[in-house]
């Protein structure tokens, strides 16, 4: 177990190092001055430090060393367009994205996995075919179109839900953690209850758009895993011993199927994040995806560099975490290659 943990720890750090290196190298590939792309400032504006000196002398390897240090210190440079500190900006944006991703994933897991079990147990019957066809339809939706349709129908036509943003401007909630529900909960706003309801109403549309596609994938993945487990010999052996079905289900089917589902979820993380980023731009959710896409419209290379580093670090971290967990739960899996 320690070996597995150590290997994944190692892998994460190597990957992180590659990503940091990549973000440094990208500053040279982006149009414009590398120093400007790295810090958001020109050489003259930079405060005098060893880092500035290394940049000025073009000793890039030394500069890279100081770059890593500055990343660890939290001085990530400033945006070339707005001049805002990137570390402060990302620490307000990232929680919003994580929040949306988390809620969508929870909804998708809560709907997709039980339905997947249901379909797997009833496989090759009418319910199974119905749900498989529905999930096929669901997974074919282009995410941006789905999100637009929901906004057009639910917000504009029916007027049930707000169409964009995260919270009505009426409520001035102080920034505490960046997670809106938590922030409202700890704030002492006089209309806390109403603010909470408003935040939830804003959350429904983006969460549903992302969860819609993820549910379909989770459903199919779980169903496949259950069907595969049902074909195993130990299920037949348990049945011949006369063990009641619910016991077989709890002891053998559920455990083994969930083990097979876990590594497949790791593959879905990057798709999920792409979908969240697209939905953020459509619903104007103030997350890192919306911000990154704005940054590319405005050619804000300093922001793109750091945004790319942060998003990919989070995604790689979550992916490796899920893979590591599934390896810890089930050490018989094929060795990480």
């Amino acid at each position: 177990m320690l070996g597995t943990l150590g290997r994944y720890f190692n892998l994460f750090f190597i990957t992180l190092f590659i990503l940091v290196g990549l973000s440094f190298v990208l500053a040279f590939f982006f149009p414009g001055d590398p120093v400007f792309n790295l810090t958001g400032m020109s050489l003259e504006e930079l405060p005098t430090s060893a880092y500035t000196k290394a940049l000025a002398d073009e000793r890039w390897f030394v500069a890279f060393w100081y770059y890593v240090q500055s990343l660890l210190d939290g001085s990530w440079g400033i945006s070339t367009i707005t001049g805002l500190d990137l570390f402060a900006e990302i620490s307000t944006l990232l929680p919003a994205t994580i929040e949306l991703t988390a809620y969508a994933t929870i909804v998708a897991l809560l709907v997709g996995i039980p339905l997947g079990f249901w379909c797997g147990l009833k496989h090759h019957r009418k319910t199974d075919y119905a749900f498989m066809s529905i999930s096929m339809l669901m997974s074919s939706f282009p995410i941006f179109w789905l999100s637009l349709l929901l906004i057009l129908v639910v917000s504009l036509q029916l007027g049930w839900l707000p169409m964009s943003g995260r919270l009505s401007l009426l409520y001035d909630i102080p920034h505490y953690s960046g997670f809106i529900l938590l922030d409202i909960y700890v704030s002492d706003h006089p209309y806390r209850q109403e603010a909470l309801m408003d935040a939830l109403r804003h959350m429904i549309l983006p969460t549903l758009s992302v969860a819609f596609l993820a549910t379909a994938v989770f459903l199919r993945t779980t169903r496949r895993a259950v069907v595969d487990v049902l074909e195993q010999d130990y299920i037949a052996a348990a049945q011949t011993r006369g063990i009641p079905f619910w016991k077989i289900f709890l002891r053998h089917i559920m455990r083994n199927a969930l083990l097979a589902v876990l590594p497949l979820l790791a593959v879905q993380v990057s798709t999920l994040v792409t979908n969240v980023m697209i939905v953020e731009t459509i619903t104007e959710w103030p997350g890192i995806g919306d911000w990154l896409i704005q940054a590319i419209y405005e050619r804000d290379y300093s922001a793109i560099r750091i945004g790319m580093l942060v998003v990919s670090t989070v995604v790689v971290f979550v992916t490796l975490l899920i893979e590591c967990l599934s390896k810890l739960f089930d050490p018989t899996q094929e060795q990480f290659s």
Partner: protein
């Protein structure tokens, strides 16, 4: 079926057997037909459009589809905010979106299968380094890769294709490597090797026939991802540019008039949806047809 086996005039080839399983399902056949219609439209579409896709007609701006009261039969699916015919633009859009997706999947497939075969047939450091890099590349969201490529090279359909192709290569490498590795451990490869077959010979005559249907299944998966991503990048203004009739771009353009002319958002999106759906149905049915063939 089993008792007829010895009386059969001829045994079906693996492909024949797969087709036999495939056509059992009505849904699979429907999807297959729809996909073929899309392929035909993609190739022949520009020959049958009633209007030029760029032709603006200020006499007929934002016309409704023909089945509504104020629509005309001259513009079957209505017109957009500058009077361009929706049907013509969609027919061209299928060619652009679908064609670009097919091309990029083919490119990613060739590179991915080559790398995957190298990784599967060579053991040791080389394949391990390759695997690490690929796993990292696979974990990074496509949109992020696209943003980086667009930041370096600028916007455009070909840059979007490059970005999505890069993101798809690892899938092919993974699939190929796994199949090649399991096949390499089997006895018939050892036999071929004892007979003195070269690496190339083993790959071409022994592994490739077993590999090809896995690759095709993988390619259908990749194709649906490619269509979704190309149109998403077009929609976000990071891929194809405004003048090109790409389906995602058309959705974005329709957005400005979405409230008075919802069909400008509805039809291009519906077209992407049907395209992806037919690819998904064919891919999924192909996978279960192959699985059934192998278990029977």
């Amino acid at each position: 079926m089993a008792n007829k086996l010895y009386n059969d005039e001829q045994y079906p080839s693996p492909w024949g057997a797969t087709w036999r399983e495939f056509k059992q399902s009505h849904i699979a056949l429907t999807g297959f037909i729809i996909l073929n219609v899309f392929i035909l439209l993609g190739i022949l579409g520009p020959l049958m459009t009633p209007y030029e896709p760029y032709a603006q007609n200020f006499q007929s701006i934002l016309l409704s589809p023909s089945w509504e009261n104020n629509g005309t039969i001259a513009h079957v699916l209505g017109t957009d905010a500058v009077g361009r015919d929706m049907l013509s633009r969609i027919l061209y859009g299928i060619q652009v979106t679908f064609g670009a997706s097919v091309l990029l999947v083919l490119g990613a497939m060739v590179i991915g299968v080559t790398l995957g075969t190298l990784a599967g047939m060579n053991k040791g450091v080389r394949s391990s380094v390759l695997n690490h890099i690929l796993d990292v590349l696979m974990a990074i969201p496509t949109l992020l890769i696209a943003i980086i490529i667009v930041a370096i090279l600028g916007v455009g359909l070909s840059n979007a294709m490059l970005a999505i192709g890069l993101a798809l290569i690892p899938r092919f490498v993974h699939a190929t490597r796994d199949v090649v590795r399991t096949e390499m451990n089997k006895n018939y490869i050892a036999t071929a090797r004892l007979d003195g077959a070269s690496h190339w010979h083993i790959f071409y005559f022994n592994i490739l026939p077993n590999l090809i249907e896995h690759i095709i299944v993988q390619a259908t998966l990749a194709l649906s991802i490619a269509i979704l991503d190309i149109s998403a990048l077009g929609f976000l203004n990071l891929g194809a540019q405004t003048l090109l009739p790409e389906l995602g771009v058309m959705v974005r353009e329709g957005l400005s008039t979405a409230y008075i002319a919802p069909w400008n958002v509805l039809f291009p999106g519906m077209c992407i949806f049907l395209l992806v759906l037919s690819v998904n149905i064919v891919g999924d049915s192909l996978r279960s047809a192959i699985r059934n063939r192998l278990t029977h």
